[in-house]
Structures are given as structure tokens and as C-alpha cells.
Symmetry: C2
Subunit: 248 residues, 2 copies
DNA sequence: CGAGAGCTTGAGAATTCTCAAAGTACGTGG
DNA sequence: CCACGTACTTTGAGAATTCTCAAGCTCTCG
């Protein structure tokens, strides 16, 4: 399963990693509630609820989704250990997404109003919150781009590559990805049909890029996976349709 | 063309609309350079340049785009009068996108470092910057969703509807949209082929939803346009393929 | 007025979707 | 501990949308 070692660190290190002095860290820790545990299917926040807290995932995984005016569901993102959610609700004062635990999740919870007051007394904390907001903004500007790429192959390979990068960025080294969400969730998130996800995962396995055991995906050939994200690199090699044919 | 009336307001009203007292507004105005004018094709910032300023568009329109590692171009957004750009570069310390003037553009320019210092002395300004960051984050989480919707019709109708809303939000009342960008730009932005944009615009016109005169689009039936964004509403009416057939 | 970029239109090709059905995994209750 | 039901996943075949390529047209700007 997951590496739960980070549940031993001070939550301030997870939530707001920064060189604050001890007094400031103490003040910060006062406004942080640690060790909120949620289980599969639990809602952490709900779309439309009044905004109050910002959250960091300490272990486990969550998904955030919303229903638009026409009642269509959109799965916007999955949150991994070390990642924050809720910052997009500061302005609207309501959560725009329901965030649900996909497995057993440990959270750290911060009251944003108190955080904001603390920021106005601690300039380096203010800077850090600006940075966190900007980082999220940068990521949603640059990464969603992957999902436009074009082909379903690029979307799914980009998705797997992105998840692996994020795990590795948090110090994990394994090539195993446990995906607690359903194929339907992945499909919705990428704007594809669930059947397409099934077929692609199968093909990736046949191409020796990944290994699938239900919801456990092992990255076998990271280089090949990366080359699939930017399709140009595949020109000289076998095309998807050729693979399909040779398999038949 | 555009309504240039807002170039007469204090730039602080455009950039950071908020109830600051006069002294604070004076300090804010000191860090704002007004009336930077750029012309069609000029780059305002370039992808990879060191981050320094945050910008607000006072009149005209800009597009922001980036090239990924494989050299593929992605047009991320178009900025309308009253809108900000550059906030996503705070964390990375470099601009992630090149921002280019699509016509004659008047800008207001703020040094972010100075803004940040001022924020730590003026709590209400700090709040305002948090709000602006969060608003952008919310918009990129909620709106890009439109682009996943599914059909090309939904993407393009969503794009037109979104532009119209943003113009109206800034006090414009006209149903005319001057689109200074090329069909290719729109296509790239929506992840479609330029030919598809042509064909769809033509069909929208035949359905009496819009009127096209080169790059000037007039929204004829806003209600019908909105219903196209959420495709379900069209079930009872004519389907796209029926239209195409009847036209032939 | 002419050149070039941008736009439109057509026809065929390719990817992805939809619908349908069979297979598999997991949790509950006997 | 096993059986069953439900939800999830996989697989297949045909349908639909969108893309690609190609050619002609139009607008703009020098």
C-alpha cells in the first residue's frame, strides 16, 4: 500500500514547507488540526459548502469532482500525499468541488481565516501561501494541456506519467502505482469512455510499457511511457493500428 | 471596436478593485506603471523569461501560449480588458507562457516583489491578492472543464458563451464579439482542427444562433447558445447530422 | 492591384464512442 | 469458509464524430 512515514512529520512541513523560525512554526501548528482520518467514500468537503478549511493529504488518495448546471459529473483531480486542496474556494467562499476519500486517508486541516491573519504578521508565511497558490495555478495551466494533446494514448500515458512523477516528487521510489479509483473515474477525468481505458491499458501492457494487476499498475518502461506522452517520438516505431492488427 | 472608457479609471481599480483607504491606494499606485501600449504581434512576456511583473489588460486582447518539450504549441487563454495575467509565474519565478498582443493593447504593469512587500503592510491588500489568485485557480479548475465536454459543438459554443460572459461581466452590453485571433488560434485553444471551427461556425449561423462577418461574431440567440453548451437540452430538437443533411 | 496568409469546402480515413454481453473481483450473509 | 449478488472490467462490432489532405476562395496589406 502507501508509505505512511510522512504521517510522522510535523504537519507544518507537509502543508507549508518553509524556513520559518520556531516561534512561527509554533503559531502555525496551533491552527492546524492533524490526523483527521477518513475512509473510502467519505466526503471531506462538498460542492457548495461554505469555505472554511484548506486541507493537505498526508496519506491515501482523494478525488475531487463537481456537477455542472446540467448535472454532468466532472472528475477534476486526484490528490496524493503531500498535496493541498481547497485553495480554489477562497474567492468564491464556497467549495467548487466535492472531495471524496478513495481509500483510508489521513488529512491535515487548516482554518484559512486564521492562516490569513497569521500571514499578515509573518511575511515569509504570506510569501509561502502566494507560492502555493501560484504553483497550483501554474500546474492547472500547464498540465491540463496534456489532456488536450489529442489522442487517447497521449492522455492516458500522460496521466500515468504525471501520477508517477508526483509520487516520486514526494520521495517514493517504487514503480508501482496503486490506483484506488475505478476505470470509470479515470475515463471521466480524461474525457474518454471507460472501454477506451480498458483497451489502452491492455495495449500498454502488450507493448511492455506497464504491467496491470487489477488496480495495481507497475511502470515497466518509463522511457517508453514518456515518449508516448509526446506522440512525435513514436513516428519511427510501430503505430497503434499496426499493434492492434498484429495482436489479432 | 472596444470600449476604452476604463483607460480613464485609476489602474488600481482595474487591477485590485477593493476598498482600500486613500493612503494605501496612493502606495499602490506608486508600484503600478500605467498605459503601456503594445501592438499586434508584440510579445508582452516570453515563456522562460524571469518573472517580474503582473499585468492587467486595460483594453484590447492578448493570447498566451507555450511550447511543450516536444515543441508542440498550446494556446492556453485569451485575456480580455479587466483581466490579469502573470500570477502563475510567482512560484516558478519564470513565465510559463508567452503573452502576445492580438490587437492594440493597453496594459497596466505591477512589480510583484513590491506588491508583495506592500501586502505585508496592508492586510486588506493581502486578502485581495489571495482572492485574485484563488479566483484564477477556481476558473481554471471549473472552466477548462467545458473543453472536455465531449463534442466540438459544446467546446465552441462554450468558448463563445464564455467570452460573451466575460465581456458582459466588465459592463459591456453589446452582443457583438470581435475575435481578433485566427481560426487556427481558436482551434488550437479548443483542441480541434481549424476546419472544424469553420464548419461549426457556419452551422451555428445556419441555426440562427450567431451571425458571422469575418472575425466579428454577433450572438443572435443567447438562449440557444447556452443550451448548446450543455448538449442534453438539444435532445428534442434537430440533431447536428440532420441539419447537415437538410442543408445539402 | 497583386501576393500571401487565412478561411472555407469536400471527400475519404481514422479514432473513439455506443451498445451489448460476457467475465471477474469483492463484500455480505448464510 | 463458501455462495451469491452487485459493481466493475473487459471484449466485440458497428456507428458517429472529427481529422487529414487537397483545392479553391477571400480578405488584408503593401
Amino acid at each position: 500500500m502507501y508509505d505512511h512515514s510522512c504521517s510522522n512529520c510535523a504537519m507544518s512541513e507537509i502543508c507549508l514547507p518553509l524556513g520559518l523560525d520556531k516561534a512561527d512554526i509554533g503559531r502555525l501548528e496551533k491552527i492546524v488540526t492533524t490526523s483527521a482520518v477518513r475512509h473510502t467514500g467519505d466526503n471531506i468537503v462538498r460542492q457548495g459548502d461554505a469555505f472554511q478549511n484548506v486541507y493537505a493529504v498526508k496519506s491515501g488518495m482523494t478525488k475531487s469532482y463537481r456537477f455542472d448546471d446540467a448535472g454532468t459529473e466532472y472528475i477534476h483531480s486526484f490528490h496524493l500525499p503531500g498535496e493541498l486542496f481547497g485553495l480554489d474556494a477562497i474567492y468564491a467562499k464556497r467549495y467548487g468541488f466535492t472531495v471524496e476519500a478513495l481509500d483510508t486517508v489521513v488529512l491535515c486541516e487548516m482554518n484559512f481565516e486564521e492562516l490569513q491573519v497569521l500571514c499578515s504578521h509573518v511575511p515569509s508565511l504570506q510569501r509561502q501561501v502566494f507560492n502555493l497558490l501560484s504553483r497550483d495555478l501554474y500546474n492547472s495551466h500547464v498540465n491540463p494541456i496534456e489532456h488536450f494533446d489529442q489522442t487517447a494514448e497521449q492522455k492516458l500515458s500522460g496521466f500515468l506519467h504525471n501520477l508517477l512523477s508526483r509520487f516520486h516528487a514526494r520521495g517514493h521510489v517504487s514503480m508501482e502505482l496503486h490506483l484506488p479509483m475505478s476505470r470509470r473515474d479515470i475515463a471521466n477525468h480524461l474525457g474518454l469512455a471507460p472501454e477506451t481505458i480498458s483497451r489502452l491499458l491492455k495495449r500498454f501492457q502488450q507493448q511492455n510499457v506497464i504491467d496491470i494487476k487489477n488496480r495495481l499498475v507497475t511502470i515497466v518502461d518509463q522511457v517508453k511511457l514518456e515518449s508516448m506522452v509526446h506522440c512525435h517520438a513514436l513516428e519511427a516505431s510501430i503505430t497503434p493500428s499496426e499493434i492492434t492488427r498484429s495482436v489479432k
